[in-house]
């Protein structure tokens, strides 16, 4: 019997010839990521465990993003502790103002096809877009890896998601993953690996795939994987030969297969306050909004900004519209392409790269009774302000179209780069 994509990555890492779901194995970790919120706790636990030296400073990446730029006096404590830990341990991979951790990990090629990567954030599933097995852990486990370079994992079952055909012009990968979440529900893939495949997936950019891997965790999945292809190799700087082993076998055992016809998909949104409360945009069209947010590790990439710019070209936003590029590089590319100028002229508030409003610490906090359409990954109660803020999650195309009218609006065509 063949192996699924996740089984192949684990086999490659451990040297075990054939792993089976449910088996507990110890893996050698290729890279870890710690962000500003949890670095003080991870550093504390590292010392409490009696470790003095990182197992390999080159494999540890520290990224400040949730608190950049600092919005509260106490935030600076996290930077001080992080800087001191990095200096003491001789770490060189430290990003203080370069963008969101989950964008930088693949953009900077810290996470590559076939690697096993852990991070102190649930959205660490994001690097599945390049065929990397990556997932979130807590800071105590992170401290254990920092000292040993190893982690035990349970080999997950795999759910195969096949998307064949050609997507309608106004449907983005965000709409697809939201539809999948609605079908699987918030716990439908708990402990399992999602493996995305099909002709529509093949047509997608790495950025579009990244949106889907990012949100895999919202149905409980341990990871959301795409087999690498030419686009992945170019993005990650590896050759096709190096990744020729990285695909799910046709005769592998999948616990379930979901099949979608791309032509049937429509723009959707997640309604307050669960990620799996999915409705077609047509069902909620006209709902008044107070704010739009385009950004985050889910949808703050170049083609997301290109889509927003195309829709907002020559128009004015009717409500507060906040645009936050996912990284400095994306910011620069968007400036070069003229998207930033278009967005600024349309009246958008453009903020520095980082998590921004998504983690509810800065950049557009809302209050009781307000509604926001946002392109990020979670609409939990209280995430972007008070418990009485209503958060809708949608694609950048839906967000931009809604910014023009001030109401939830069916989008026009998205831009595919």
């Amino acid at each position: 019997m063949g192996s699924t994509l996740i089984e192949k990555i684990i086999q490659h890492n451990t040297g075990i010839e054939k792993v089976t779901p449910g088996q507990i194995v110890t893996v050698d970790v290729d890279r870890v990521m710690i962000h500003d919120i949890f670095i003080p706790f991870a550093a504390d636990k590292f010392k409490e465990m009696g470790f003095t030296k990182l197992w390999d400073p080159d494999k540890v990446v520290l990224i400040y993003d949730h608190m950049v730029p600092a919005a509260k006096v106490e935030d600076s404590r996290h930077f001080r502790i992080g800087d001191a830990f990095a200096a003491e341990q001789g770490m060189t991979h430290v990003h203080r103002t370069d963008g969101i951790c989950h964008q930088l990990m693949t953009e900077m090629r810290y996470a590559k096809p076939g690697d096993i990567v852990f991070g102190t954030d649930s959205h660490t599933t994001t690097y599945g877009s390049v065929g990397c097995f990556s997932t979130g852990i807590g800071y105590t486990e992170m401290a254990g890896i920092l000292g040993t370079g190893k982690l035990w994992i349970r080999v997950p079952e795999t759910i195969r998601v096949v998307i064949d055909g050609k997507l309608p012009d106004n449907v983005m990968s965000k709409d697809i993953i939201l539809r999948i979440l609605g079908d699987l529900r918030a716990d439908g893939a708990t402990y399992r690996s999602l493996e995305f495949t099909g002709s529509a997936v093949k047509e997608m950019s790495v950025a579009a795939r990244t949106t889907m891997s990012n949100m895999a965790v919202e149905c409980g999945a341990k990871c959301g994987l795409f087999a690498p292809d030419e686009k992945t190799c170019e993005y990650s700087g590896v050759s096709m030969e190096e990744v020729s082993w990285l695909y799910g076998d046709e005769d592998a055992e999948y616990v379930k297969t979901l099949t979608y016809r791309a032509e049937d998909l429509v723009p959707v949104c997640a309604c307050p306050s669960q990620v799996d409360n999915i409705k077609n945009i047509s069902e909620v069209e006209g709902t008044p909004l107070d704010q739009v947010f385009i950004g985050s590790c889910t949808n703050g990439r170049l083609e997301d900004l290109a889509t927003a710019a195309k829709i907002l070209e020559g128009k004015k936003v009717a409500i507060r519209t906040i645009v936050t590029p996912a990284s400095r590089q994306i910011y620069l590319d968007a400036v070069k392409a003229g998207y930033m100028s278009t967005l600024a002229k349309a009246g958008c508030i453009i903020t520095t790269p980082g998590c921004g409003l998504c983690c509810g610490r800065s950049g557009g906090i809302l209050t009781d009774g307000e509604r926001v359409l946002a392109t990020n990954n979670r609409n939990f109660l209280g995430r972007m302000g008070t418990n009485k803020v209503q958060i809708y999650l949608g694609s950048p195309a839906s967000a931009a179209a809604s910014a023009v009218t001030g109401r939830i609006t069916m989008p026009e065509a998205a831009v595919r780069l």
Binding site: G50, E74, G138, Y139, E141, G144, A186, D187, F380
Partner: protein, 159 residues
């Protein structure tokens, strides 16, 4: 020994267990005063050491914050018994030494404010005169839990 039961629904997320604005408080004890704030603002005051949290599916979904199981442990919650748990919460709970028990049948058979008797060693929970069997932890995790969490377990390995 019988414990008081605090019952919660499906998909209780980590923001509901401990909201992100409290994560920067200097100690878990201080954070724990805000446990389940959005669901029941007085929970931290009412909960007693030895109480049980009982929930339906997917308890602890959402972020990777380890403070979610930590605040429950700080309040003295004896264990969380749910139909199912989200992956990261489950690992975090074991690593910090908070028992997390999968039991499919308890939820429908106990009331909020009612009582249940958890026998961790036997892997059973008794409520309303019925004994329910819980799913056993894999040996590797049981071992970490028995030693009081990952730190104690790693320290022991080194010695």
């Amino acid at each position: 020994m019988s414990s008081k039961v605090w019952k919660f629904h499906n998909d209780v997320d980590t923001d509901q267990i401990i909201a992100s604005q409290y994560l920067l408080l200097p100690t878990v004890e201080e954070m724990s005063q805000y446990t389940f704030e959005s669901l029941d603002p007085s929970f931290a005051k009412k909960a007693q050491a030895g109480d049980l949290v009982v929930a339906a599916e997917n308890f602890g979904c959402g972020s990777s914050r380890e403070q979610a199981p930590s605040v429950l442990k700080a309040l003295g919650i004896k264990a969380v018994i749910a139909k199912s748990f989200a992956r990261i919460f489950y690992r975090n709970a074991i690593n910090i030494g908070l028992p997390v028990i999968v039991c499919k049948d308890l939820y429908e058979n106990v009331e909020d404010g009612g009582s249940a008797d958890l026998d961790l060693t036997a892997g059973t929970v008794t409520a309303g005169g019925h004994v329910f069997t819980c799913t056993k932890l894999p040996a590797y995790m049981q071992n970490i839990l028995n030693q009081g969490g990952l730190i104690a377990s790693l320290n022991k390995e080194e010695n």
